[in-house]
């Protein structure tokens, strides 16, 4: 869930470099994000995600609202949410964990470190962790 295509592409590159077999689906605002998760409208056929990467600054519906909605919905709240943002504000970190975010990652500015961080994130969630099945 990210509105900046350049960021999406970087994440895609990181996913490719980490060699984790995962499909990346992108939604560009908060409203679409909820439609995707509820499989409404044009997302009627969408698969339920194993993991969501959530940017906090989304158009239409803010990332924090999306997080709050996911975590208060009985059918959605077991989907792990990785908050992936540029914000380093302690307030944001606290608020996200308070809304039951599964982890909070500040995107490193340096490309190498960004790649390394994304790789370890993907490694963790797709190889170390056991995810719930529907």
């Amino acid at each position: 869930m990210e509105d900046n295509p350049a960021d999406v592409r970087l994440t895609r590159e990181a996913l490719r470099e980490s060699r984790v077999p995962a499909n990346l689906r992108v939604v560009v605002d908060g409203v679409e994000a909820m439609e995707f998760l509820y499989r409404r409208g044009r997302y009627g056929e969408a698969a339920r995600p194993d993991l969501t990467l959530l940017d906090l600054n989304l158009p239409r519906k803010d990332g924090r609202e999306v997080l709050a909605e996911i975590k208060s919905d009985l059918t959605l709240r077991c989907i792990p949410v990785v908050v992936l943002t540029t914000s380093e504000a302690g307030e944001d970190v606290f608020q996200c964990y308070n809304l039951h975010a599964n982890c909070y990652i500040t995107k490193p500015i340096d490309l190498d470190r960004f790649m390394a961080t994304m790789k370890s994130t993907f490694d963790f969630w797709f190889t170390v962790v056991k995810l719930p099945t529907e």
């Binding site: 350049a6 970087l10 540029t86 995107k107 500015i109 340096d110 490309l111 190498d112």
Partner: protein, 426 residues
Amino acid sequence: METATASPHEEDIRYLTNNAGDVLLHSDPALPASFDAEERPRLQEILPGLALMFEPGSRTQRTWERLESQGGDVVVSFQKVPFDPLRPERFLGLAEMVYHRDVVGEIASLRNRILLLAVALILGPAVLFSLFFTRILVRPLGQLTRAVEKATAGEYDTPLPLEAHDEMGFLARSFQDMTQRVKEREQALAQQAAELERSNQELQQFAYVASHDLQEPLRMVASYTQLLARRYQGKLDADADEFIAYAVDGANRMQRLINSLLEFSRVSTQGREPEPTDSAVAFQQAVSNLGMAMEESGAVVTHDPLPTVMADATQLTQVFQNLIGNAIKFHGEEPPRVHVSAEPKDNEWLFSVRDNGIGIEPEYFDRVFVIFQRLHSRLEYPGTGIGLALCKRIVERHGGRIWVESELGKGTTFYFTLPAAGGDQP
């Protein structure tokens, strides 16, 4: 006690007697108005002091005497009025008597009146003169004094004796000119302060923009140039490699500058209130943060006992880290040796960070503290030129000063002061 002025003034008492002293007529309230022949009193009985006047053969025609009487001392004038030229021993006695106290009263009141007059004569001109003096000198002087007092308190509109034509007027006009200039200067200063405040806020605003809005696109530029470099290094021609290298370098440098600027602006926005802080702990933290640089250079960092000061511990660590880090970075041919010490000065502590490094030329002593000012190329010594500016901002935020003394090729000592903690007076 009866006093002259207090006693009521009575009418003079007069007596008319014959040559034997028998009172014929009188105005004495103590005596009956008229007498039977047998009871007629003699004046010498009333005023024994006059007895001599009635002695047969007495030739004294008149007398003026102070005598005792039953009612108190009296002053009597007595005159014989002969009526038979052939028998001068026959006369009418005319006595006039006043009580002494009445005379004294009279005299006292006269004296008082004279005194009053004298006082009026003497004081009158003095009062007039002092009025004149007040008008000419004292009041203008008072005005001027008040004006000076108010002016010291920053109030410049007190009335002044400007119309005076003497030195006072001149003084007043000069003073007014002066306050006018001070006023103008103060207004200019206030304006500058307001502008400074505004530009300071603009800098904070810029820092915010830099952190939230500039960072994001810059991250993209930097990331994609890095990605380009990573994927296509050596796959295009040599020019392309060079161009990509410059682009990567530029983007990285800009990121560091923006981060430095952010760090710089955070000194005031995220600084905590100074509290008693053990500078030895801050020093140890700084040294441990510098671990890698110290290992690489083989630096030896020593210190004297360090005091407790009023400081934001994180910022004090930053100051030590920057100064010691610089001392290590700008080392000479010998392995860097850095010594930190502190000595008490009045209510503050004077810290010094001394090294044996390359030194700084005196002409750059001020410039090293200016943000982004560097004395060396980035190839010689890396860095954005933020460290000392940051130290200056931190030290000044704590109410201290920072300066440098150095000898080229011998070494450099940075000095800074910090207020002593209340319980640890130097």
